[in-house]
Symmetry: C2
Subunit: 732 residues, 2 copies
Amino acid sequence: MAAVLTPFEELALRSIIAVSVGALLYAVLLARQVLREPKGSGRSLQVWDAIRQGANAYLRQQFRSIAPLLGLLAVVLYLSAYAAEAPLSISLGRAGAFLMGAFFSASVGYLGMNMAVQGNIRTAHVAGRSFRDALRVSYRSGTVTGMLTDGLGLLGGTVIFMSYLTHAPEVLLGFGFGGTLLALFMRVGGGIYTKAADVGADLVGKIEKGIPEDDPRNAAVIADLVGDNVGDCAGMAADIFESYEVTMVSAMLLGLAIRPFDFKWIIFPLLVRAIGVLSTIAGTYCVALWPDSVTKENAFKAMDLSYDLSSAIPAVSFFFLAYYYVNDLRVFLATGVGIGLAISFNKLADYFTSPSRRPVDQIARSARTGAAPLLLSGLALGFESTVWTLLVIAATIVASVIFFTGAGPIFAMYGVALAGIGMLTLTGNNVSMDAFGPIADNAGGIGEMSGADSETREALAKLDAAGNTTKAVTKAIAIASAVIAAISLFASYAESIGLGGTGLNIADPLIFVGLLIGGSLPFLFSSISVRAVGRTASRIIEEVRRQFRIPGVMEGTTTPDYARVVAIVTSAAQRELIGLAILGIFTPIVVGLLLNEVALGAFLAGVILVGQLLAVFMANTGAAWDNAKKKIEDGYYGGKGSEEHKASVIGDTVGDPLKDTAGPALNPMIKVINLVSLLFAPAIIHLRGSPMVSSILALALIAVLVVVILRSKREASEMTEGETAAVAEKAK
Amino acid sequence: MAAVLTPFEELALRSIIAVSVGALLYAVLLARQVLREPKGSGRSLQVWDAIRQGANAYLRQQFRSIAPLLGLLAVVLYLSAYAAEAPLSISLGRAGAFLMGAFFSASVGYLGMNMAVQGNIRTAHVAGRSFRDALRVSYRSGTVTGMLTDGLGLLGGTVIFMSYLTHAPEVLLGFGFGGTLLALFMRVGGGIYTKAADVGADLVGKIEKGIPEDDPRNAAVIADLVGDNVGDCAGMAADIFESYEVTMVSAMLLGLAIRPFDFKWIIFPLLVRAIGVLSTIAGTYCVALWPDSVTKENAFKAMDLSYDLSSAIPAVSFFFLAYYYVNDLRVFLATGVGIGLAISFNKLADYFTSPSRRPVDQIARSARTGAAPLLLSGLALGFESTVWTLLVIAATIVASVIFFTGAGPIFAMYGVALAGIGMLTLTGNNVSMDAFGPIADNAGGIGEMSGADSETREALAKLDAAGNTTKAVTKAIAIASAVIAAISLFASYAESIGLGGTGLNIADPLIFVGLLIGGSLPFLFSSISVRAVGRTASRIIEEVRRQFRIPGVMEGTTTPDYARVVAIVTSAAQRELIGLAILGIFTPIVVGLLLNEVALGAFLAGVILVGQLLAVFMANTGAAWDNAKKKIEDGYYGGKGSEEHKASVIGDTVGDPLKDTAGPALNPMIKVINLVSLLFAPAIIHLRGSPMVSSILALALIAVLVVVILRSKREASEMTEGETAAVAEKAK
């Protein structure tokens, strides 16, 4: 039993803190480099300024509207620790860590998005100078977000651990919850915003008025561009930060639960992460340094090569770390499985959604007999893809069980958590590549609008193409890491409620009921979020139509009120996400109070199982429809404007809210539910001691949930002509 | 401990057998009544004859192709009991009961379908005479199937129990498995057949050639009509028979597992069923006897009134049975919950899928902005509907737990099984109403084709409208009963493997893996069955196109070769369903061998949870799209031929294979998997004693599964000319 740190461990932890601070400094350095670049001038700067203002207005509004909830939750967390008779330092620590996690997550989203906005305009400008410069500026803008993710996540986790040592779990949970809850807000809010604005702008502009996309007469055009930033940049960044943070928290929780206890189980994952940060710094910096032969034609190749460079460093060092420090090669194997998992998920996502592979080709081909066959083959593909991704996850768990044979279930689950650590070792690279996508995309848009010359446009188009590839790659890793983290949290939960001999026995009827209810929740969540997109879009449509009726707007002599549309979609998205957040926070507490804490464990298993299946289904089906459409637009099976193309547009439109709103929102949702359960299990057990109090509380929470659900249905039914139109769009 | 029957129990069991034989005799009586009616003559008789031949050819082919598999499985079942060192009487009994279950299920499907075919033509003919006669003939044709279901199910279960008493479980499992496996074949095969023929006929006929539906020049037109019979009649009948049988078997299994042991726990559900049979006979016979004020305008009202009459008898008698025989009112309460469950499911299905309710109205309205909004609102509706149905099931389990507080989990699960018994008390009425649907539908079709007068047509149209309502009502009960039966089987499984203290602890990593794999299986199954419809349809399309190229066919001077299309779709559907059956039978064995029997238990829970969610999702989404289309065709939101209508046709076409093939197939699938696990658990435990043998066996089974899955992905139709010809020859 090592309850104090060895001198080596002290040194290691201080080094890890140094590395994470280094990551942040590196982010500052890169940001300064990018900001030194010229922005250009004229029309593009005006557009850019409107986007920047809109995006910031959205995030400010978001932070303002959730601040009271965060404050309230911090108090509740303090009380929950207090009720469990934790010392003051821990109760305060938990509440503080919660706020810190939320603040970090918000910062990564906010700064990452602003960096992207700054990167857009500069990339567009320097693309006229050289392709390499454009690649450097856009990629490094993205890397800022990557390094913030790494640095803040590692810093927070390490500092909490050093401060609390064996008491760290209580506080780490707060940290994880803060980050995850914020990520839920950013993901869901951003997802609703971006799809609703997209659909709203297109429906009135392109379809009703017959004006081009991104036409400045359309009042929703700025909201649409803002949506790309708040959804693809801020939402994505907060989401990956949360995954990075929660995989770490769950590994540390399980590491602290291992008996006989030893700090090496916690310090090993932190060291792995620190090495990952250093590797990322080395790799990402090289992207713009590779010889012309690499970067000139193929931006993706440059990033890929950097990724390989980054990967080489950990592969070697993990081995030595496991061998010399932990004295246990099993942790090396488990971490290695995580890297294999990342690769497998990549390959699966690529196979099921790449336009050049057979599945998407089959979907595109089925458009020859109409929209229905295309839709059905997409559904069949999505159904199937869930099976293989789930088998890969199952294989990861089995591998971990085999490595830790005889060491007991906690060790095996710790191994699974290490796979999560391994998988996200190169989070910095992943985020860089992911953030690069929308930056390149927006730079291309700005280039178009500002009338750049053909050479510049060509360079920007090349960047954009590379961006599409990187997005798909990182999305798969985000889903996989969410599931692994959730499974680790679930294991922590089972450990924390001290099940003893009986375990989470789902043959017990009440516990089985918990499993059933948990399984239904992702369906409810998806239903509400799909409808939320439709409702929000309908609000935009009304406003854009109203503005088109103002004399001068359609003629282009009066500038439309962009800010008003931005404000409308901002407040609508806010309203929607509060309901979803309440669903995530209240449901586990109700299940715990009405059934019991063991049934709540089974509930978590149900949420994870079905959440994972639905998330993968929606992501892959949506991406496959999207790419089938792109394939047809590239001239296959009839090409643009054909009946086949019309069919594929229907598929793409159906897939959009699935893959960009409902699906990605399930990742943080699953983890919020797990963390809420972990945090409130002691309070639930305590409350169940007085059936009267717990019944009243449960009924009160149910009342709130019913209101939330009914509201989501009622507003749907009030959809006016324009409202339903919301979701419809490009199809015609 | 009562190991022998009391004289009262002897008498009760003999009475139950008498009742079930009475049900069969009543079926014979009704059949003779129907067959005495005139068939009419001329053109309609020709069409009818072709349908009859095609349908019978399909079923004969189906029985022929699965006979070897049944024989093989009977031997395997014999060996599996033998390996578990069961006495010869039990090993033989299990194999024999398996064959009996399969034979009963097949008979219900075969006879029910033939009765429907006989009923069609006669209903069409007597509709010219009086509406009451048409109602009588069509409803009584359906009642024959209902009484066969009741009589054979009750007879089989009771005879087995009387013969084996405490050893009955071993043998009952065989009986349940036989019925369920056959139902899987009939449901999947029929589902693929009916949808593929429908799509194939419409696509070439209506869309490519622009000729009306049911045009005799279309070579697939007979196959399409055959499909209605093999899917909606034979498939449905076998499926409900299986539900009736398995709810009974699972209640008996749990009744036998209760300690202290008492035969009353088994005899009570049998008595409940017998009372149900008598009530059904009384109620169904009255349908055509109600005064004109009831039957004249509203066929549904007549059926509904009969249902109420049938319900009144059990409600009273169950109470007395529970009070005086079982001396335990809890069993009355649990059975009553089942009736509440049936009502709740009805209401939910009605709310989510009825054209006059708000959800379908919203979907229809969203068609004004195109197909994509219509599709998305249908998906959101389907997602949401799963949540409420699942909560109703959860409430059923919780109610049972509350009734049997302190009596332990087996009692609670026995209560759940009793809910299944209560829910299916009036199966005879349900089947009568369900079979009535396609009979009325086909009678209408025959009336149209044979050029009946307008009064006759109007009477037939009224019948048809009533049929649409009854179908929706009974479908909901079929799904609910499947889940309840599966949960009871799952409980039996957990009991049978003797878990002791540790239970089905899903916090154990390997057991959690079992849950994950189980959850993914319904997705795989749905993916394969949706694709199977597409593949089979493509074979039909090719053939119909080929025949249209034959000179004279398009001109109507040469009769197309209907039999050839029937033969093609028959053999294609067969090929598809063998793969799916292998998936259902092999997967649980592989999971048991590779992981262990406890993980297999969690696997079952995963299959039930996700299977239920997907089945409800597909049923409700498909039905809602279908009814949204019908609503538009009734003149709302643009009416027939509008853009809205086109959008709704896309929705309907996407929904068809979901609601009529993939969704309904999940019901028997879930139970096949549970029964296979129950049957082979002892063998699996035995085999795992020698890791070498079990690994080799597992790998061999996996190899077969991989082949099945890969084959299902391969693109359509390499059926050679020779093969087609061979099948066509056989079918004649």
